[in-house]
Symmetry: C2
């Protein structure tokens, strides 16, 4: 094993100088810096993470906190975060924190205390519904752990970043598209109530209806939880109404897929008799028939950017506190038109 002392001897400098070079600290001549890097490469030196973190209390790790890692959304976020972490020599770790604990302030406090002491993350990434949870955010803030929040939320926090798209605007766009096809009875299936996205997408839906002077009809709005099964159920209910909707905007793709299956089961043709629009553009959207019109979110980019911001922050901690990287970053979405939407048939309007 090559140690730092070996590099120091090889480059004919002190231990500390090598350390400075590795940590991008100032006060090293460019010439020496270069010589040290040469020695590092020549000897194939790789710093020991355990020694570094033992001494410095930095772990070179980012934690992604989530209630599960199964599912297309979190899977893709993780993939993006992993890419950023690897690029900067950080590890990405997953910490499972389920909703039951999340919604119980006492249990949450205990969980966080253990988490902080045990993992000592240099930063954490929060996804919905965790990114919407005020308690969790403030506990981590108090523990002085940088956070990147993914997904829409209303948390005001000048020290950390939120990465999202304009859900409300996107939802309004898809609803307006359905209206432009001649649809007037447009149903909506909501996501989980504990997620900001649910409310913003609903607002976008009503924005579009109001702007077109179409009445908002309670019966056409069904609860859901972002899962396929809830879309299936909502679809069943909506299609069995005497005066059924001719189009449905589901708050995500999984539920939209459920609505499409419900249509098959009730012998309605999508898109001729029912238009369906989802949200996310997950892998399902291209694999079902008809393929799903939806809003494409840069989910991979969420993870990538979230991790990158944390790495940057960890790298500048205590050194240039002036450089505060934190803001609400609005990313770009894209409306993807596929086969699940069609003009409103006159028979139904």
């Amino acid at each position: 094993m090559v140690r730092m002392i070996d590099v120091a001897k090889h480059a004919d400098v002190s231990l500390k100088t090598v350390s400075r070079v590795l940590n991008n600290e100032p006060h090293v001549q460019e010439k020496i810096r270069k010589r040290v890097f040469e020695s590092i490469n020549e000897l194939g030196y790789i710093p020991s993470t355990s020694a570094r973190s033992l001494r410095s209390l930095r772990t070179y790790s980012i934690h992604l906190i989530s209630n599960s890692i199964e599912g297309a959304f979190i899977n893709t976020v993780q993939s993006g975060a992993l890419l950023s972490c690897q690029k900067h020599g950080y590890s990405l770790l997953i910490s499972l924190l389920d909703s039951e604990i999340l919604n119980n302030p006492k249990a949450l406090k205990k969980w966080c205390a253990e988490f902080v002491v045990q993992k000592r993350p240099d930063g954490v990434i929060l996804v919905p519904p965790h990114s919407d949870n005020i308690d969790l955010n403030s506990i981590l803030n108090e523990a002085n752990i940088p956070i990147s929040r993914i997904g829409p939320n209303e948390i005001i926090d000048k020290d950390n970043s939120t990465i999202m798209i304009d859900d409300r605007k996107a939802a309004r766009e898809v609803t307006e598209y359905l209206i432009s096809l001649g649809h007037k009875r447009i149903g909506h299936v909501r996501g989980s109530e504990d997620q900001g996205a649910t409310h913003k997408r609903y607002s976008g839906y009503t924005d579009a209806l109001k702007a077109a002077s179409i009445p908002i009809i309670e019966e056409l709005i069904k609860p859901g939880n972002f899962r396929f099964e809830s879309g299936l159920k909502a679809g069943e209910e909506l299609l069995k109404m005497k005066n059924r909707p001719t189009a449905i905007f589901a708050a995500n793709d999984d539920m939209a897929a459920g609505i499409i299956v419900a249509s098959y089961m009730n012998h309605f043709k999508v898109p001729d008799e029912l238009s369906v629009i989802g949200f996310d553009d997950n892998e399902l959207a291209k694999r079902i028939w008809p393929t799903l019109s939806t809003i494409q979110q840069p989910v991979f980019g969420y993870g990538e950017r979230a991790a990158e911001l944390l790495v940057k922050k960890a790298g500048t901690r205590k050194k240039q506190t002036s450089l505060v990287i934190s803001a609400t970053e609005l990313m770009n979405y894209k409306f993807i038109l596929r086969e699940s939407t069609n003009i409103a048939s006159t028979a139904n309007n």
Copy 2:
């Protein structure tokens, strides 16, 4: 922060005794062991992973090596592995190793050297196609890193474990089921050629045909790569034949979904005009229409078991080398009958 020395003082024993208790080492009186545990709980002591690994060269981490973490299969394996790791106080880390490097022996050797020095994993989990790669397996073996292999392969290795189902038997079963429905022209879409599963599933398919004295027709067997698009393409080709198959067994669900979409596009009704069977039972299987008949693999269990075996091995290293945990573990699969299969219509036979 509570240190080991604090626990030692509190329990009125030496530092080393606490260390012994924590590492399950022998030569500690039961009475003292209990007292130490009490002190640990009372003080809320949590060992410092960095200090432990700096000294002992163990990292308390398992690495999952894969070319990507996106996709239902690897996602579920990871989820299972994460559960086991958390249960035993281990970290699960992901290392991305893409196929280009994997198939270039020189690049692979270099990658592994860096990986071993930098990560020092206590064990690695390999999934297809990595679990089928002889070079990778032997390099890791030489580096003395325990391996759990997931998925079918022919690697002979008395020191490590392989976890799989009997793919050949399962493939034979589904093909026999199609035969029992009266199908005689049964197509097959293969997976990636670098994966053992592809060959085993193909063998199961031919086993069933041979046993039923049905000729194996080359034209009905199409190449694929386990991806949706390859299933779509194979489906197109098979359906455009003059003498098209009445049933198709795809080597996985994603490709089966592609075949179903191809059927819609070519106006063939599934299952009335074409029966389709997949393999995996991933989330897609229940979300498409018609829902997919398939073989359910215990994918979560693969990850769970793989990690568990590695943790056990790491815990007994150097202490009881007699206890060698390694074998081929055959897990149970299940044939799931859904809506994508039907009896062969007489018109087509």
